[in-house]
């Protein structure tokens, strides 16, 4: 099943609307209903846990948000990873009906809840990238590769912060497996690199 964009556009930029509980819940429910229609699976949704996931995500989003506008594109991906982390942590959805008999060697049947969370987060990420950066999110083989999903489920059960790296992987980006929970400002890194190069060019003295 290929993730499709969710109905997240409510007359304001998606990166803003997703930070309101009402749109977050509406978007998540829409994703869940779409997955139910496509797979025959049925979920129960815990409103309290979904609210808790949203609140934890929003607070993490505000905590890690960089000041430099040059980091906005990179932060979009990181924020989507944070969202996956909080959804896995709180587990608001629970499979209640396994649906039509299908092999469990496809991700959505191997780990239905995990697939739902990943789909939602990828769709939010794709919607913001399309709207703010006019980019189209890639669909990569890892998204349908069962071995990747085995690794995803196992590793996030041990350390849920790994979800941030895995979402990058599912989105076709290079994950930071060393410190996935730390947003590294590319703009700051580039400035540091530029300063270092300048110093080398000047023979080790500081530029005036």
């Amino acid at each position: 099943m290929t993730p499709e964009p969710s109905p997240l556009d409510h007359g304001q930029p998606i990166r803003k609307s997703i930070r309101r509980l009402r749109w977050f819940v509406q978007g998540f429910r829409a994703q869940m209903e779409q997955m139910e229609q496509e797979t025959g699976l049925r979920f129960a949704l815990d409103a309290g846990k979904l609210s808790a996931a949203f609140l934890d995500w929003l607070r993490a989003f505000e905590t890690h948000r960089p000041d430099d506008p040059a980091d906005r594109r990179a932060y979009t991906g990181f924020a989507a990873g944070l969202m996956l982390r909080t959804l896995l942590d709180h587990g608001p959805a629970r499979l209640v009906e396994p649906g039509r008999a299908t092999p469990s060697d496809v991700p959505e049947h191997f780990w239905p809840e995990g697939f739902l969370y990943v789909s939602f987060c990828l769709n939010v990420r794709a919607a913001v990238l399309a709207q703010d950066f006019h980019e189209k999110q890639r669909i990569v083989p890892e998204l349908t590769d069962l071995r990747t999903w085995w690794s995803f489920k196992e590793n996030t059960a041990e350390d849920v912060t790994q979800a941030i790296g895995f979402l990058d992987l599912f989105a076709g980006e290079t994950p930071d497996w060393e410190m996935p929970g730390l947003f590294r400002s590319k703009a700051a890194q580039n400035r540091a690199l530029t300063d270092a190069k300048s110093m080398v060019a000047l023979g080790g003295t500081k530029p005036e």
Partner: protein, 231 residues
């Protein structure tokens, strides 16, 4: 001795009568399993009457005047300092409408709501007319007044039989009510109950923050100000 002077809201019998009927309805809507032991002890005819009464009591929200978008708007005007007896009545309806749903959603069967006390409490407050659109301070003031007046309780108007768990549930419900009043209204008025449900879910997962914020009216206002824009 002169008869006590009652605020105008209390001299109208409709609110107290609704309070009485609501209390009876919530009590008698207990599941049959809870009533069975009593039914077994009571003489046959009395047990039969009890059984029949539980099915005959009217549904308040349809027989009375449930809260409307206009009521919510009036209440918000009241929080901004506009005065009027109709505003206190509107608040009583909004409180009853909201609290019934929030308490039912949480599975509570012990707490009762008094529209009479709600109208009196609202009417007695003086809200700052210069606050403009920021009514978080007024909402915090209202929250504390409702709690102090035991508008919601096991025996409304008194602190009788309220334990720590009840108090926590009451504050969660008041938190949900205040957020519902302060947050952006949905474009479609038929979605008000959905927004209320979101506020209740949000309140249910912010207990620690709420307990800390209840320390002062200022911290409470700051918390609801921050939360309202998140809903």
């Amino acid at each position: 001795m002169a008869a006590p002077h009652l605020p105008k809201q209390a001299s109208d019998l409709r609110l107290p009568l609704r309070d009485l009927m609501r209390g009876a309805r919530r009590t008698l809507s207990l599941p049959e399993a809870a009533l069975k032991p009593a039914l077994g002890i009571l003489p046959g005819p009395v047990g039969d009457i009890l059984h029949r009464m539980s099915g005959l009591l009217p549904d308040f929200e349809s027989a009375g005047q449930p809260a409307s978008r206009a009521d919510i708007d009036l209440v918000c005007q009241g929080l901004a300092g506009v005065k009027g007896r109709n505003i206190s009545r509107a608040f009583a309806r909004v409180l009853a409408h909201g609290m019934e749903r929030v308490l039912d959603q949480s599975g509570d069967t012990t707490l009762l709501i008094s529209e009479t006390l709600a109208a009196i409490a609202f009417g007695a407050l003086r809200f700052d007319q210069g606050a403009g659109d920021d009514v978080a301070d007024a909402a915090a003031q209202l929250w504390l007044a409702l709690d102090a007046g035991h508008v919601i309780g096991v025996v409304p108007g008194t602190p009788i039989a309220i334990n720590a768990a009840d108090s926590a549930r009451i504050h969660s419900a008041l938190h949900a009510l205040v957020l519902w009043l302060l947050t952006e209204r949905p474009d479609d008025p038929s979605q008000e109950d959905d927004i209320l449900a979101l506020c209740a879910a949000f309140a249910s997962v912010t207990e620690a923050e709420r307990s800390a914020a209840l320390a002062t009216p200022e911290t409470l206002a700051q918390m609801v100000r921050q939360h309202a824009v998140m809903i």
